[in-house]
């Protein structure tokens, strides 16, 4: 006659390798699970960061495009004015006034940014020096006293980075502008994007 004790059972008394987990085994298992979880969370964080950087790339490109289009439009005015009055150095002097912030250019409208921010601010040499020493922040592209968290609040540095002179006219006829955009504004958690454009005075007769 077959009895209970004579038959195999999955719940027979444990012995040898079938005993309960030891503390070491449990700790190792927890470590493995913990590492796995950390990897999963790390991947999620990397994904979030990549998504944010792509968003910043897009917004910075839009901002640079709008700023440089505005400068180009002003360049056309200055070329026209230089041709009209015929006075040497007119084009260079007008841009010098812009670079010294004597001629103010309205900040263009850019997606996600608050409206009517300010005028474009061109950086001077002393501002650049102080910035390099970490004593001067980039210019905010937002109203500091009316900041909106639901909008994009970058900072920027815009300056004339190079100039060239026409050997014929003996006057400046090429200017290079550099625009650095700090997409995270006051947190500086994302690297600055740098854009450059060159404006020329073709000169001569139309």
């Amino acid at each position: 006659m077959r009895t209970i004790s004579s038959l195999p059972s999955p719940l027979r008394p444990l012995s040898g390798r079938n005993r309960a987990f030891t503390l070491i085994e449990t700790a190792l298992a927890m470590l493995a699970i913990g590492l796995g979880l950390l990897a999963v969370f790390g991947l999620g964080r990397l994904g979030l960061q990549a998504s944010k950087e792509t968003d910043h790339d897009q917004r910075c490109a839009m901002m640079a495009d709008a700023v440089f289009e505005t400068l180009r439009e002003y360049n056309a005015r200055f070329v026209d004015e230089a041709r009209t009055n015929g006075v040497p150095d007119t084009w260079g002097n007008l841009w010098e006034d812009v670079a010294l912030n004597n001629i103010q250019i309205i900040f263009p409208e850019i997606a996600y940014m608050s409206e009517k921010v300010q005028v474009l601010h061109f950086w001077q040499k002393d501002e650049n020096d102080l910035y390099e020493k970490g004593q001067y922040p980039p210019t905010p592209a937002f109203q500091s006293d009316n900041i909106s968290l639901s909008e994009w609040n970058p900072r920027y540095i815009l300056y004339v980075s190079d100039a060239d002179t026409s050997p014929v006219a003996q006057a400046i006829n090429v200017l290079q502008f550099t625009l650095m955009i700090f997409p995270d504004g006051d947190t500086y958690s994302s690297e600055a994007r740098i854009f450059q454009t060159t404006l020329t005075n073709p000169g001569g007769l139309p």
């Binding site: 004579s6 719940l11 027979r12 505005t70 439009e73 056309a76 005015r77 409208e109 997606a111």
Partner: protein
């Protein structure tokens, strides 16, 4: 007799069942050992841990999937927006204006209108932008083109209907007898004439449902679920009206913004459209993809290269 047999049979069956219960093996019978398996507490604790880990993993996975699909949708919308702004910039770069007749208030060669979205009525076509440009070889020639006429200009329209954006290119038919001065067509009511044709809800409805279109036009649906804004500027205008221009002179630059949505985002956006609560105000800018671009026209020094 029958009763006794029945009672015996029942007793016999009962004994047999009892003996089977006692003697036959049963794998479910617990063996009496202190280390025979997991206790209920251990099982419950391990299940709770398992559920917690699974919950965390599902949350991470879910948010990662949402983020992935969101950024994928955003990338798609950015691509569509870039293509549309390029198309508009291409058209604007070729735009021609008619300044041959001054003082004519009703015949304009440039038209721009950007109403407040709250004024957009259903079943109404809004013409945002209308320009004239040299005829493209790709424009369809009208089938009923009369003899001694030619198509040298296209009237290009950007319209919206039911929150979708459309482009229409209509060849302008010019009679050979009509005079040209310095390459400029004298009759410049092409925009006004063709507005009647473009201002047709049925044409847009057909385009949106991919039904057949009118053969003499090159009309196309550019994007659905879109809020476009067109603003044009003249830099010497003392009293600029950037949102509405009907003029013979082309503006110096246009500020264009396109707010594109997926169908799901649009449903969310529309549900809180008129809502002025703080929550709705915070949520609205995060729905859809907003793209802006300043297009400076060639006569104002524009260039398509950033």
């Amino acid at each position: 007799m029958n009763t006794r047999l029945l009672v015996n049979a029942q007793r016999s069956m009962s004994e047999r069942v009892n003996s089977r219960t006692l003697e036959l093996p049963n794998s479910r019978t617990p063996e009496l050992s202190p280390r025979s398996g997991y206790t209920l507490i251990e099982l419950v604790a391990s299940l709770a841990l398992f559920v917690m880990i699974l919950g965390m993993l599902m949350t991470v996975l879910n948010s990662a999937t949402d983020m992935w699909s969101g950024s994928r949708g955003q990338k798609r919308e950015q691509t569509v927006a870039a293509a549309i702004t390029d198309l508009i910039a291409d058209d604007l770069y070729q735009a021609v204006s008619d300044i041959s007749e001054s003082g004519d208030l009703y015949k304009k060669s440039f038209y721009l209108f950007s109403p407040d979205i709250t004024n957009t009525k259903p079943d109404t076509v809004t013409i945002h932008l209308a320009i004239l440009r040299p005829a493209s070889p790709r424009t369809r020639i009208p089938s009923d083109l009369a003899s001694k006429t030619r198509t040298s200009l296209d009237a290009v329209f950007y319209t919206s209907y039911a929150f979708a954006l459309f482009r229409h290119v209509i060849p302008v038919t010019i009679d050979f007898k009509q005079a040209l001065t310095n390459g400029i067509a004298l009759p410049h009511d092409f925009i006004t004439e063709n507005m009647r044709f473009v201002n047709d809800p049925l044409l847009h409805k057909n385009l949106r449902t991919y039904a057949s279109t009118t053969p003499d036009t090159t009309s196309s649906l550019l994007a659905e679920w879109i809020l476009p804004t067109f603003l044009g500027y003249y830099h010497d205008d003392p009293d600029p009206k950037p949102d509405e221009i009907q003029f013979d002179l082309l503006p110096h630059y246009l500020d264009l913004s396109l707010h594109l949505f997926s169908a799901e985002e649009w449903a969310d956006y529309w549900s809180i459209f008129g809502d002025n609560s703080d929550t709705a105000k915070l949520k609205r800018p995060h729905l859809g993809t907003l793209i802006s671009r300043r297009i400076t026209l060639p006569q104002a020094g524009g260039s398509r290269l950033p």
